[in-house]
């Protein structure tokens, strides 16, 4: 019966409840989307491996390192695989058709990234064709590329038109793997730039290093950097996670702003729901006085009001959560090039639910307190 009363009370003012539920749904939808945007920002960090280190020029990422460092790094204790690459910075047809593209040493690179799933025949063809390229499935779908197609990129750092044969399309082993990357042979780049940028020849932008286990990451990084101390190109080695976090840190202000906005949204909806509950309880204060007269105690009155608040917020919250999925899909299609992985995580859904329950509870506290503490005689006077 208590549940019957609270459910019926929740829908007594249909328009008011409908608008509050809509507000709650929009708030949870917005909160979920903003959380997903933040998650998308951190996706590189999430996908990073604890057994991979990144070595770059200690001054800045734009300064390169000699290829000769490779053999020295290999000799460091705990190092298992060394790969390397360059940021290429090319675009396809038009500048707006931008995506991340790297020149890498293919065999060692793919060995370090088992999360890129490639059919065996395509893998063989990619690694053996100097002009071959490997792209993620989302990128291939975006431009309608198929294996065997010729793809021409226009270089920005390395000027000119660069032709590649698409030899393979990879898919991520898990949902958080970026499927919008473009890889080609570092040797192709290195040989091609001999005439145009001779100073860049035999230089790499970064080394990716596979280590035995995560526990030796700190000492291995230190050992690598120690080798090149006081050289012309000193190195900075860090875990892949720290490297990715460095990129995220560049956008920290934006991320903080998004987090703040998502909190403001929740605060606004809390006020809206609390106002709805406040109005409802104020209108029904006489009824609560009647219930108290009949012997209903503070706990039962509180349950009625909190329950009503929870009914409204949970309906709104669930609606918001359901709507977040199509909204995220639309958002991903619209801004997919900026957020290659835009998945709603389980954590976001749990947060949505936690916010829903918290708003429901907080919004009901003050109206419930008012209903419980009002004197029965005073409450009864409000009737008639």
């Amino acid at each position: 019966m208590i549940f019957k009363i609270l459910f019926r009370n929740a829908f007594r003012h249909k328009l008011r409840t409908f608008l509050t539920v809509c507000g709650m749904a929009v708030a949870i939808l917005s909160f979920g989307l903003l959380r997903t945007v933040i998650d998308a920002w951190y996706i590189g960090v999430e996908a990073s491996s604890e057994t991979r280190l990144v070595t770059r020029n200690s001054i800045s990422l734009i300064f390169r390192l000699p290829l000769a460092y490779r053999d020295t790094i290999r000799r460091v204790d705990g190092v298992e695989i060394v790969s390397y690459g360059n940021w290429f910075g090319g675009y396809y047809i038009d500048r707006k058709d931008f995506f991340a593209n790297f020149a890498v040493e293919p065999k060692s690179y793919l060995e370090l990234y088992p999360e890129y799933v490639i059919p065996d025949d395509q893998k063989v063809k990619f690694t053996s064709d100097r002009k071959g390229c490997l792209v993620g499935k989302k990128l291939a779908d975006r431009f309608g590329w198929s294996v065997g197609d010729t793809v021409t990129l226009t270089g920005t750092i390395f000027p000119g038109k660069w032709d590649f044969i698409l030899r393979g399309i990879y898919e991520g082993r898990t949902k958080n793997i970026d499927e919008t990357l473009f890889f080609f042979h570092w040797n192709y780049l290195n040989e091609s730039i001999k005439k145009i940028q001779s100073t860049s020849v035999d230089h790499v932008g970064f080394y990716i290093i596979g280590i035995e286990n995560p526990y030796i990451a700190a000492e291995t990084s230190e050992a690598i950097d120690k080798f090149f101390k006081n050289s012309l190109a000193e190195t900075l080695t860090e875990t892949e996670k720290a490297f990715q976090l460095g990129f995220v840190a560049m956008s920290e202000a934006i991320i903080k702003a998004i987090q703040l906005i998502s909190l403001v949204i929740i605060f606004i909806i809390l006020i809206v729901v609390a106002n709805t509950m406040g109005m409802s309880v104020r209108e029904r204060i006489g009824e609560y006085a009647v219930l108290k007269t009949l012997g209903f105690r503070a706990r039962q009155i509180t349950m009625l009001i909190m329950g009503e608040s929870m009914v409204i917020t949970i309906i709104g919250g669930i609606t918001g959560i359901i709507l977040t999925f199509p909204a995220a899909m639309g958002f991903s299609l619209a801004v997919g090039q900026f957020f290659p992985v835009f998945n709603i995580t389980g954590e976001t859904l749990y947060l949505d639910m936690a916010v829903t329950v918290t708003v429901g509870l907080l919004a009901g506290i003050f109206p419930a307190y008012r209903a419980v503490t009002v004197r029965i005689a005073e409450g009864l006077r409000r009737i008639g």
Partner: protein, 229 residues
């Protein structure tokens, strides 16, 4: 030794309210005794303190001074929670404006006080049906309050008041919002509850014709009981 026939004993009760910085004395040195099965009308002009006295008897408010003993229990010593529990068992309320819960049917409204008991659903249904048949409302069980006339609503409210078989029934202007015929029906019903079921009733009214239906009358004027009238 306690008089077994005495159901209500009010001794030297004082009650005042704060209105801003002013203290308004509402009841002064009220003493009253009532025997089991009595039907008392508390009469007096507006502001005389009769509703306040009824609220104190019903355990809705606390006295400033004095004691109120009902069926051997001094309710002025009970905590708020104990008082709520005591009310749910011992007092049936009939209000001027019926005070039915609009989202519940007649049946559900009458069932409401029984939710606080340990009765099973089947037992509750039995009690509710019996109470509704006493007030001749068994054919309106599924009606919501807004689908009932004032007189019908008051009968449902009376069924709600008697469903727990309380020690006393308190009625605050039970006919105040009704037309003459409906008021007569309600008073007939209360008379029947008192006569046939032996219910002790305390009714507040300022209507002399309603007051005459009671077996005894007490007059309140400016917070003082006037036994001589």
């Amino acid at each position: 030794m306690r008089n077994e026939e005495l159901i209500l004993s009010i001794n030297n009760v004082f009650k005042s309210y704060h209105r801003g910085s002013q203290i308004v004395r509402v009841l002064e040195n009220i003493s009253l005794e009532l025997e089991r099965g009595a039907f008392l009308a508390l009469m007096g002009p507006s502001g005389s303190g009769k509703s306040t006295l009824l609220n104190l008897i019903a355990g809705l408010d606390y006295v400033d001074q004095g004691t109120i003993e009902i069926d051997g229990v001094d309710i002025t010593t009970l905590s708020e929670t104990d008082l709520a529990r005591w009310r749910s068992v011992n007092v049936g309320f009939i209000f001027q404006f019926y005070n039915l819960i609009p989202v519940l049917t007649a049946f559900e409204n009458v069932e409401l006080p029984l939710l606080l008991t340990s009765l099973s659903k089947r037992e509750r249904q039995k009690h509710v049906s019996a109470a509704l048949s006493v007030v001749n409302m068994e054919d309106r069980v599924d009606h919501y309050p807004n689908q009932l006339s004032g007189g019908q609503q008051q009968r449902v409210a009376i069924a709600r008041a008697i469903v727990t078989d309380p020690t006393i029934l308190v009625a605050d202007e039970p006919t105040g919002d009704l037309d003459r015929i409906s008021a007569e029906n309600v008073l007939d019903l209360m008379d029947r509850l008192n006569r046939d079921l032996g219910k002790t009733i305390i009714m507040v009214t300022h209507d002399p014709s309603a007051g005459k239906r009671a077996h005894s009358m007490e007059h309140l004027d400016k917070g003082v009981l006037n036994h001589d009238l």
